[in-house]
């Protein structure tokens, strides 16, 4: 393959089709290098560059679309060639040599991997050349009779049970925070100082109450508190008629 590819590189346009058989520029370079039939360590980089450039030039002549990496490699090789032939100075000559060595070693690397692939490919392969037992026997038995028991899972069960129980218990009606007799006593005590004369009991109710039931409860508590305070002589109460409004004032004896 390699010899023919190179032989045709100069003249016939048929070689260009062969470019497609190569896996990128490095692959072609390796093929060209191998065709020099010397140790890869001693290939002529210049000759290699010329061959590569000739092939790329040929491909361009027949207007074959070339992928960018082929052209990048061509440009780099052209640069390398110019530096190898006419270096501008000692440093440049060294750079070119290092670059050439780098290319040679990359080619050697690829060559080694290609050899490795060849070696692998030549090995008898399981499933292709040799076969293992087609119907292996499963000599394992699964015993699922045992129980996995540990305290954490028992605790999770315990908490689960508690939660379930508490979750149902919450249906007991919750205590509504009614206005209590104690609340009313405290409020009456505070407000009486500010009320000079008879004041209706309703004025002593808290300002905001959620609903009618709460209002009735507060009224009852306030009445009870006023009765209590009246009994101890702190206040006087009066009511003009049955079911009429009740008024209170601070007792004069105090």
């Amino acid at each position: 393959m390699s010899e023919t590819a190179v032989a045709e590189a100069g003249a016939s346009p048929s070689f260009v089709l062969r470019l497609e058989g190569f896996e990128g520029p490095l692959d072609l370079l390796l093929d060209l290098a191998r065709s020099q039939k010397v140790d890869l360590a001693q290939i002529s980089i210049l000759a290699l560059v010329d061959q590569y450039l000739a092939i790329i030039e040929g491909a361009r002549r027949v207007r074959l679309e070339l992928a960018a990496d082929w052209l990048v490699m061509a440009a780099w090789l052209a640069w390398l060639k110019s530096r190898l032939l006419v270096p501008a100075g000692v440093e440049e000559a060294e750079d070119a040599e290092i670059a050439a060595e780098g290319l040679a070693s990359r080619l050697a690397d690829l060559q080694r991997m290609r050899m490795a692939a060849l070696w692998l490919g030549a090995r008898p392969q399981l499933g292709l050349d040799v076969f293992a037992r087609g119907a292996p026997e499963d000599l394992t038995e699964t015993d699922r009779s045992g129980l996995l028991l540990d305290l954490p899972s028992l605790m999770r069960g315990h908490i689960g049970a508690l939660r379930r129980q508490l979750g149902r218990r919450r249906y007991a009606p919750r205590m509504t925070p009614w206005w209590s007799v104690q609340d009313a006593l405290r409020r009456l005590g505070l407000m009486l100082g500010q009320m000079p004369d008879w004041t209706e009991l309703a004025r002593f109710l808290p300002e905001s109450l959620p609903d009618a039931a709460a209002l009735r409860a507060a009224m009852a508590s306030t009445l009870l508190a006023s009765l209590e305070m009246g009994r101890s002589g702190d206040i006087d109460l009066r009511q003009e008629q049955a079911f009429g409004p009740i008024a209170i004032r601070r007792s004069e004896s105090h």
């Binding site: 000599l139 699964t142 015993d143 129980l147 996995l148 028992l154 908490i159 508690l162 129980q165």
Partner: protein
């Protein structure tokens, strides 16, 4: 005619590598002209007689099989313990913490009927045992945990079980119960 060694090797490899039993007629197509498949099989069977594997005729053809007497020695038993279902674990926890306890009381706590299989699972595992009957209508059986229960959970005594307070505080439980309340409400209603 004695079958050739080549035929024996081929038959051996074929039966070995095939994924399914090899029919005699498949073997026949592989063998050289004039070679009797039956004779090849017989010779191969003789060669393997008394060995670790044997050539047997099964439904559909020939197959190598581990010698019967060796199978038990080669079989590895892999133990994969099961977990108790959640219901069983909860029931076990209720019994552990409230023993002795009747089935009705367990159902009371869980707020739902207890499947017979749940108690049976626990009984079978020897984690619980009956301990007399309660003197109440119907004389229901009382359940307690066993010494197997203690040893399986690595407890010296029932007193080693974490106390309720150690575990969680009730407010937290209530809170999480509240979170579930919408979902729970339906269940509770239907239970009522």
């Amino acid at each position: 005619m004695e079958p050739s060694d080549d035929s024996l090797r081929l038959a051996e490899a074929l039966v070995f590598a095939a994924a399914a039993p090899v029919p005699l007629r498949t073997l026949a197509t592989m063998l050289p002209e004039g070679e009797e498949p039956e004779a090849v099989v017989a010779a191969l069977q003789a060669r393997y007689a008394g060995r670790g594997v044997e050539l047997v005729e099964v439904a559909g053809g020939l197959q190598f099989r581990t010698a019967l007497d060796l199978a038990p020695r080669l079989t590895r038993v892999i133990e994969i313990p099961r977990r108790l279902p959640r219901v069983a674990m909860e029931t076990l926890a209720i019994i552990a913490y409230r023993q002795p306890v009747t089935r009705g009381e367990i159902e009371e706590v869980r707020g739902t009927a207890l499947a017979q299989t749940t108690l049976e699972t626990l009984l079978e595992a020897e984690l619980i045992a009956p301990a007399g009957r309660r003197d109440s209508p119907g004389r229901p059986t009382l359940w307690v945990t066993t010494t197997t229960f203690l040893s399986r959970f690595g407890l010296k005594a029932l007193g080693d079980l974490p106390r309720r307070d150690d575990l969680v505080n009730e407010a937290q439980l209530l809170q999480s119960a509240d979170l579930n309340e919408q979902a729970a409400a339906e269940t509770v209603v239907s239970h009522d």
